[in-house]
Symmetry: C2
Subunit: 195 residues, 2 copies
């Protein structure tokens, strides 16, 4: 059986859970306590040299890291990867953007408040997180999905931390296209609304 090593509060890990549930694949979830060094043990680093969750270990024992690489692998040949080459390329663009320009700010602000208990997050992180959320709001205005006419991995990857942005001190109340899209993606993934 496939095994996931993850932290159930982490958006990057939840993405993987949602995709496994969506494709109906059997899996075992092993909770890793990253705050008490669970992702720094020799056993864990042997599977995940970057020391990051989530990773999956396939039925034959081979590991795979990086949440968006895992999503792409699990979603191969399913309808959340566009058949059109340009739409597929745009989906990839958003997946890389999510990890480069959104997660390092929107998720990190949440991590600092929720995991580390900070009451103030560095201004640079909040500014860049707000810029990422603004860009997403612009992209979603007048659209139901980020790319094309249906839900893709871009929506699944980006909703993970966007729906939790309030935990990091970001304000979604004026971002109305984003809020409607969060509810749309949650409904498509059969999730309870967050927060």
């Amino acid at each position: 059986m496939l095994t996931v090593y993850g932290d159930i509060r982490s958006g990057n890990c939840l993405k993987v859970k949602w995709m496994l549930d969506r494709v109906g694949r059997d899996y075992r979830w092993v909770e890793v306590d990253i705050m008490s060094g669970g992702s720094r043990t020799p056993e864990f680093l042997a599977m995940s040299p970057a020391g990051q969750v989530p990773i999956i270990v396939l039925e034959d024992g081979r590991p795979l890291a990086q949440s968006n690489a895992i999503l792409l692998h699990l979603a191969e040949s399913t309808d959340v990867i566009p058949a059109d080459a340009y739409d597929r390329a745009r989906m990839m663009e958003w997946l890389f953007w999510e990890q480069y320009s959104h997660e390092p700010y929107v998720a990190v602000a949440r991590f600092q408040r929720l995991y580390l208990g900070k009451t103030e997050v560095e201004g640079r992180i909040m500014q860049r997180g707000d810029a990422a959320l603004d860009r997403l709001e612009g992209a979603l205005t007048g659209r139901d999905w980020i790319v094309g006419e249906g839900m893709t991995l871009a929506d699944i990857a980006l909703v993970a931390y966007t729906r939790m942005a309030g935990d990091g001190g970001f304000d979604l109340s004026t971002r109305t296209a984003t809020r409607a899209w969060i509810r749309r993606v949650e409904a498509a993934l059969a999730l309870e609304p967050y927060g």
Copy 2:
């Protein structure tokens, strides 16, 4: 004809040039001076809302951003994308790792020294860049290529800033597997050795 908007000194932009040259696709290169605001004009932001180079504009006028998404698009159905599903997933893992854990340190240190003229780079950036280069050295020890038995996009994406790491103040002299791999990838791409 396809158009690239890029900065010829940027590893992220050079990746795209190398792939276009490799697949033999005609293109026009438009140099963008990011230091004088060339990536902040309304015209540029209309094509690249994230304000980043490189972008490509396809023959029909549609834009595509994010260097690794562009590589994947240009390389579709070529031998630098593994046919095996697991190898392909590992290649994707390295592409996301490159943008999350390597480029923000190895490239940013170089940017601060070369573009901004700084003589000292923040310790955190140097430490994380060294950690990324150490991980790469470990992965390359005893191997010719990062994934599988031939050059993939993981090699092309990671060599871009690794070969220039000295510009950022990193020391490649003791990283012998990495140095041999750099020469191997440069030869495969018909590049002059860097530095």
